[in-house]
Symmetry: none
Subunit: 430 residues, 2 copies
C-alpha cells in the first residue's frame, strides 16, 4: 500500500508577522511519525478568505490527508469553516452537535453564549464533528476529492488532545498496513543532549545505526527516544536500551508510556509510596519548588506547607535560623541552608525538606560568592545533606534548574541512590 | 505603488519531522515588517529535488520577492542551488567570488577546503553572490519571471546578519515609496480576545478600517496592537487609541515600548514607587504568586516572605487562622482568606498582602463549593477586601489565572482604581 501524502495548512496572521513561532506543526509531525507518516508539504498563510479557499482547493487536489490548523475561533478573522465550505462547494449550516458542545462549554463556565461564539457552530454541511474537551471550538472533518481534511484548533493544548484522542486514531484506521515503527521514550534529568550523546559515543561506540537515537529537550527534563523501523531492529533494541540505561544510571527517571509525568509528580508518587510528607524552605527559588509540587493534583496529601523566606530576617523569624549563623556564614552557606531545612521540618511536621539559598542575580554576587552560587539542603531531620553548586544562568533558568535539582535530589534520596549525579560532578563548588 | 508580494520557501527535512521548530521565518517576517512588507505565503518542504524545482517554479510565478531559506550547506541533501538552476533553466557553474569566500573561510579556520565544501561554490549561472561573514555558505540572488529570488542559509545567526546587512537594504531599494508602518501595542489583563472585540464592536461601532486591531494572546496578558499604514490613519490613530483605552479602562496595564514587562514586574514597580512591601498567603496557588514575584530581579527589596499553607492545620499554625473559623466556614471562605491575609501581614511586616484559598481540582469540590471556587483577599492591614470567584479551569490554568488576578487586584489597589474588573463582573460567585 502506498503511504498517504499528508500536507499541512496553517492559518493565522500571527504566524506570518513573526509574532509567534509555530510549534503546532512540530507537534503534528511528531504524532504522525508514530504512525510512520511524514508531512510532505506545509503551507502557511494569513487570514484571508480568497487565499484560503484557493489554497484548500490546491492542497486537497494533491494530498490524501490535509490537516488545517487554526481559524476556528469566534472572531471575524477565523475563516476556516467558511473557506472550507466555499472550496468544497457546500453550504454552511448550524450543527446541533457543535451547538450542544458550545452550550455545555459556556454553561460549565457559567458564561453567556455570545453571538461571536455561536459562529463556532456554523460549519460545512455534512462535515463530521471532532470533539474538543479543552476549548470552545470543535474540530471537523470533511472528505473532498478523496482527501480527508481535518480542521483543528490553533490553541496548542486543545490541538494536542484532539490529535491524540481523535485524529490520530482516525488516521490510523485509514492505513491498515502501517509501517512497523517502534518508539521507546526515556525521561532523563540532569544531562544535556550533547553530554548524553558523548556518553553514548564514548561508552557504547558500537551503537547500531538501525536504532535511531533522538532527543527532545524540555526544561527541566530531556526526552530520549529510541526508534526502530523493522522487526530485526526491534529485537535488538531491548539489549541496547538496557545498555543505555546502565550508562545513564539514575539520571533516567522513567520510561514514558502515554503522557510523561513531571519531575514533581515522580517525587509525589514516591512520597506516597513511602507515606512521607515534604516541605520547602526557599530563598532564591522564591516559591517555585512549592509551586511545582502543588501544580500536581493530589499534592495536598503530601505537602502541607512551604516557606518562602527571601530576607535574612524572615529566615530567622519563620524558620528559626540563628542570626549568628547568618552573620558568621552569610545567607548562602551550608550552615544556613541546613538550619532552614531544620526549621521547615520542625514547623511543618513534614518528614523531608528541600531548602535552597543562593544568588539568582543579576545583582548580589561577590568575588567569593558569584552570581549563580547556591546551597541546597535536602533530606530528613536526622539525615540532612547539602551541596554547593555554581550555575551562572539567567535568573529564570537558574531558578527553574535549581528547583528541579532540589526535587531530583529528593527523588534520588527516596530511591536510596548511591550515585553522584552529573550536575554535582560538573557544578559542585568546593 | 503596489506593495510587492513576498513569499517564503523553507527547506529541510528537520523542519518536517518536528525535530526543530522554525524560528527563521519569524525573523524574516520581523525584518520585512520594518520595511512595511508582509509575507503573504510560506511553504515548507523536505529536501527533495523534484519537489523543490516544482515549488520554486510555482512560487516565482506568483511572487515579486521569494526568499528561500536553507539547503546551502555542503551535504548531499543541500539542494537549493541545483533546484534553482533547474527551475530557472540555467546551468550550474563555479563562481570565483564564492570560491574565494570559501578559500578565505577555510584558511581563517585553518581547515582544508574539502570536496563537499567546494560544492558550495557551484551556483546558478549569472546569479549575484550575497556575502556571508558568519559561515561557509554564501547566499545568492536570481531574477526569474520578474521575481527576485534570494537564497539564504538555514543557520539562524548567519541568516540574521545576511538579512540585516545585505538583503533588507537590497529589497528596500526596490520599494522607493515604501509604506510607513506604525504599530502601537497595549498590554491588557482580564479580557479575552473575543470579549475585547465585542466591547469594541458594541461601544465603538465606527472603528475605522484603516486602523487594524490585532491581538496576541498570552497567559496571563493579552497584547492588543493598533496598526496603521498611511499618514492619514496615523493621525487618526491617536484619537481612537484614546477611545479604546477609555472603554477598556484599568484593564489596560501599559503601552508597550521595547520588551513587555510581566504583571508581577508592573506590581513591583508600583510597590517601589510607594515604598511598600508585599507578602503572600497561598493555599490553592501553592507558591505560584510568590514565584511570579521572585522571578523578577530586584524582588528582594519588596518581598521578604511568602507563606504556602496548603493544609488547614498550617493555616492555623503559620498564619494564626483560628480553628473555629476553619470549622465554621471552611477553608474556602471570606473569613479564612481574610484571616490568612492578616496573619501574613503580621508575620512578615509587609504592607500589602494577597491571600488565596480555593479548590483547584480535579477533586475536592462539593455542590456548595464546586471545583473552581476561590476566595481572594488583598490589601493592607486596615483595608482588606475580598471576593469569591468561580473559575472552573484545568488545575494549572486555574492556578496561573488566579495568581495573576491576585497580582492584578494589588495593581489596581496601588493605582486607586475604582473600577470593577471584568473578571469580577463575569465570575463573581454570590
Amino acid at each position: 500500500m502506498k503511504k498517504p501524502n499528508v500536507q499541512l495548512l496553517l492559518t493565522g496572521n500571527e504566524l506570518m508577522t513573526g509574532d509567534i513561532v509555530d510549534s503546532n506543526s512540530a507537534m503534528i509531525a511528531q504524532q504522525l511519525k508514530e504512525l510512520g507518516l511524514d508531512i510532505s508539504r506545509k503551507v502557511t498563510i494569513a487570514d484571508d478568505l480568497a487565499i484560503l479557499v484557493n489554497e484548500i482547493s490546491q492542497l486537497a487536489e494533491h494530498a490524501d490527508i490535509l490537516i488545517i490548523n487554526g481559524g476556528l475561533g469566534p472572531t471575524v478573522d477565523d475563516l476556516t469553516a467558511q473557506a472550507l465550505a466555499k472550496a468544497t462547494n457546500v453550504k454552511l449550516t448550524e450543527h446541533p452537535k457543535a451547538l450542544e458542545h458550545l452550550t455545555t462549554w459556556c454553561k460549565k463556565r457559567r458564561v453567556k453564549l455570545s453571538t461571536p461564539n455561536l459562529k463556532q457552530a456554523i460549519l460545512p454541511q455534512d462535515c463530521t464533528i471532532i470533539p474538543n474537551n479543552q476549548g470552545s471550538a470543535v474540530g471537523f472533518k470533511v472528505n473532498y476529492l478523496n482527501c480527508n481534511i481535518y480542521c483543528t484548533p490553533g490553541v496548542p493544548r486543545e490541538l494536542k488532545v484532539m490529535l491524540t484522542e481523535q485524529i490520530m486514531p482516525d488516521i490510523a484506521k485509514s492505513i491498515p498496513n502501517k509501517l512497523i515503527l517502534d518508539v521507546t521514550r526515556l525521561q532523563v534529568f540532569g544531562l544535556g543532549e550533547s553530554t548524553l550523546q558523548k556518553m553514548v559515543d564514548d561508552k557504547l561506540p558500537d551503537w547500531p545505526q538501525s536504532i535511531e537515537l533522538g532527543f527532545r529537550a524540555g526544561m527541566p527534563l530531556l526526552e530520549v527516544k529510541l526508534t526502530t523501523t523493522n522487526q530485526k531492529a526491534h529485537d535488538q533494541k531491548h539489549i541496547w536500551q538496557k545498555k543505555l540505561i546502565q550508562i545513564l544510571g539514575d539520571h533516567v527517571i522513567a520510561q514514558i508510556n502515554n503522557e510523561p509525568l513531571t519531575l514533581a509528580k515522580h517525587v509525589l508518587l514516591k512520597l506516597a509510596d513511602n507515606n512521607l510528607k515534604i516541605t520547602t524552605a526557599e530563598s532564591c527559588t522564591g516559591g517555585l519548588i512549592a509551586s511545582m509540587i502543588t501544580q500536581e493534583a493530589g499534592a495536598s496529601a503530601l505537602f502541607e506547607a512551604g516557606f518562602v523566606t527571601y530576607s535574612n530576617h524572615m529566615k530567622t523569624k519563620l524558620l528559626g535560623v540563628q542570626e549568628q549563623l547568618l552573620n558568621n556564614y552569610g545567607a548562602v552557606s551550608h550552615e544556613v541552608v541546613i538550619a532552614m531545612a531544620q526549621g521547615a521540618l520542625k514547623n511543618s511536621s513534614a518528614d523531608l525538606a528541600i531548602a535552597v539559598s543562593g544568588i539568582a542575580g543579576p545583582d548580589g554576587g561577590s568575588e567569593k560568592k558569584p552570581v549563580g552560587t547556591v546551597w541546597i539542603a535536602w533530606g530528613s531531620k536526622n539525615n540532612l545533606k547539602s551541596v554547593c553548586l555554581l550555575m551562572p544562568l539567567p535568573r529564570h533558568y537558574f531558578q527553574k534548574y535549581i528547583a528541579s535539582i532540589g526535587l531530583d535530589l529528593i527523588r534520588r534520596e527516596l530511591m536510596d541512590s548511591q550515585e553522584i549525579p552529573y550536575y554535582i560532578i560538573e557544578r559542585q563548588r568546593k
